[in-house]
Amino acid sequence: MTVEGTAERKTARDGSKRTTAKKATTKKASPSRARNSAGPDQAEQDELVQLLTPEGIRVEHPDYAIDLTAEELRGLYRDMVLTRRFDAEATTLQRQGELGLWASLLGQEAAQIGSGRALRDDDYVFPTYREHGVAWCRGVDPTNLLGMFRGVNHGGWDPNSNNFHLYTIVIGSQTLHATGYAMGVQKDGADSAVIAYFGDGASSQGDVAESFTFSAVYNAPVVFFCQNNQWAISERTEKQTRVPLYQRARGFGFPGVRVDGNDVLACLAVTKAALERARTGQGPMLIEAFTYRMGAHTTSDDPTRYRPDEETLAWEAKDPILRLRKYLEASGLVDDAYLAAIEEESDVLGKRVRDVVRAMPDPDHLAIFENVYADGHALVDEERAQFAAYQASFADADAAAEGN
């Protein structure tokens, strides 16, 4: 078993395919082995929950069955393609000087779309700063994500409109906010769940450990979704941990599971199960989505300085979009016309993103003083008035110059 506490899920599994799947998933890994190669070694590969192989072959897992309609499967494909296109546009816009920085999600589409599509509207998301695909699933207009990277605000959306909190840049801080929010959900007697996203680097932060402690102690309905993309800027996961990350959960008293983070079906199935546990009062769960960041950490770093090409190439073969496409094509669920239509839709999205970003106005100068306090603050009022008068003095001078 790769996860405790999922016995109730077994009733849904596909018995006819169990034998082969079980064989591939019951082998225990040695917990003390450090990982240092490109991608998981064989034993760790066996720990992965996988429902779709890199070749696009559908497989079953004894604990995580999922049965999607053709439309749902096509929807996941569309989500991933459009998210990748949005991300590519943002990267290009950064290169063109329209954005100050961009944190690309390239390669992590399945982890984000799979987990994002597992959520209910009344669930609440606490992202880090790379969850563009999750934002997409929440219905946040993707152009809203760009304001902070362009430098016109620190987050351009109302978190409560889509139950999607602002991006959090301090690593791991948001896992505690998610835990506190989940404690509130529990106090309210609501049956929704909360999900906190973070990366393998963040797993070293004290706040993440503290959020594990608090959520376990209070049995809070929160799912911790760690996207282990193998690199924390230039540092490998082995600089963060000596045990596979999902195994940390056990020490805090809740289950952890490692899922193939490039397999959108597995990410969806595992996240659904974890959310269901949370909703039914069974407490937190840690999901480690084993994936890969294909690009740079952000547009300001250069992965060629620290990352071997062969590693990147090895992961390219596991591309999350390609494998779903192979499956959809082999199953006759998509045809060329459908794929072309998605391409066309992504072109439209790309153009819209470019147009909106370029049209984003710089904020008003006095925005510096807005919303510093909810109830106001005498010093802010004083400084705003002084700065406004100072600004106005230029207008007066300009007017006088024109008058002359």
Binding site: G180, M183, E210, Y373, D375
Partner: protein
């Protein structure tokens, strides 16, 4: 609660928490040992018994976790009142307070509010071991998005905490722990002053002493001794450190012409520096002497047998008063 009763500050804070929790079911009390024990200073005594462990929450021993989860609860619509056990233990939570709590309202363009109140028993004078007697108010006052207050008597302790809890901004509420057991009048019926309004607690005409929290009593004692020597000293209790009610200080200094600022925190980069600079700017032509400051030294808080030397006492403040009057 009778009107005009003499009561300790600790009991006034307890009564304030009780009143806030009765008035608003969203108010929660959180912290280490706040439940059955009633807190290490017994300030939350009896609250868990009356409000239950869902509203008076004993937390794991993790300050960042306490503040971070309080932020999440506030985002969900609760009003957590967090207790940090001692001043020197707030630093594990400093990141959450500074990078998250203080900025979240601005970051969300005003769309979310995080009304978290952080109670910190602070400052020295109780003979404690290290990390139990610090005065970190300047470190918080420097951060936009936070409000900082410190009461000096029971009525203020009672009202200012309720005002802090009812407001929509994060507030650091510094409790002068050496005054916890001082009794003073608690007036639960008169309309309280606004949270950030300074108050003249003793009128005078020769010099203004500005202080807050534990140093207000020292300054009042100084004013009494000075009066015996024929000097008329006015005492301003700032009550709020962010924002500071400079108007009240200014009008006092325009009358007296002299200002001495007193706090326990180290003088260097302390709140006294801010007050001296602003008042000098506002009252330059009224000042008869430079603004002087009395406070702690630029040294780690000393072992308790030296804290009487470190903390501003009657003699050091009187010395500053004499120096200011000598100009």
């Amino acid at each position: 609660m009778a009107v005009h009763e003499k009561i300790t500050i600790a009991k006034a804070i307890n009564a304030s928490l009780r009143a806030s929790m009765e008035a608003d079911p969203k108010v929660l009390v959180m912290g280490e040992d706040v439940g059955k024990l009633g807190g290490v200073f017994r300030v939350t005594d009896g609250l868990q018994k009356d409000f239950g462990d869902e509203r008076v929450i004993d937390t794991p021993l993790a300050e960042s976790g306490i503040v971070g989860t309080a932020i999440g609860l506030a985002l969900r619509g609760y009003r957590p009142v967090v207790e940090i056990q001692f001043d020197g233990f707030v630093f594990p939570a400093y990141d959450q307070i500074v990078t998250q709590l203080a900025k979240m309202h601005a970051r969300a363009l005003g769309k979310v509010k995080v009304p978290v109140v952080i109670r910190i028993p602070y400052a020295g004078g109780i003979g404690a071991v290290e990390h139990h007697s610090e005065s970190p108010e300047a470190l918080f006052a420097h951060v936009a998005g936070l409000k900082i207050v410190s009461p000096s008597n029971s009525s203020d302790a009672y009202w200012m905490l309720q005002q802090a809890i009812a407001g929509d901004d994060p507030v650091i509420y510094f409790e002068p722990k050496r005054r916890y057991h001082d009794k003073s009048r608690l007036d639960t019926e008169s309309i309280p002053d606004p949270l950030h309004k300074a108050r003249i607690t003793r009128p005078g005409s020769d010099l203004t002493l500005a202080a807050y929290g534990p140093m207000v009593k020292v300054c009042e004692d100084v004013a009494k001794v000075a009066a015996e020597e024929g000097k008329s000293v006015e005492v301003v209790d700032l009550r709020s450190i962010s924002p500071i009610d400079f108007d009240t200080v200014q009008s006092s200094v325009e009358k007296t012409g002299r200002l001495v600022v007193v706090h326990e925190a180290p003088v260097f980069f302390g709140s006294g520096a801010e007050i001296a600079a602003r008042i000098t700017e506002r009252c330059f032509y009224h000042l008869e002497a430079p603004v002087l400051r009395v406070g702690g030294f630029h040294a780690p808080y000393p072992p308790s047998r030296l804290e009487d030397e470190y903390l501003p006492g009657l003699d050091r403040v009187l010395d500053a008063v004499d120096r200011a009057l000598a100009y």
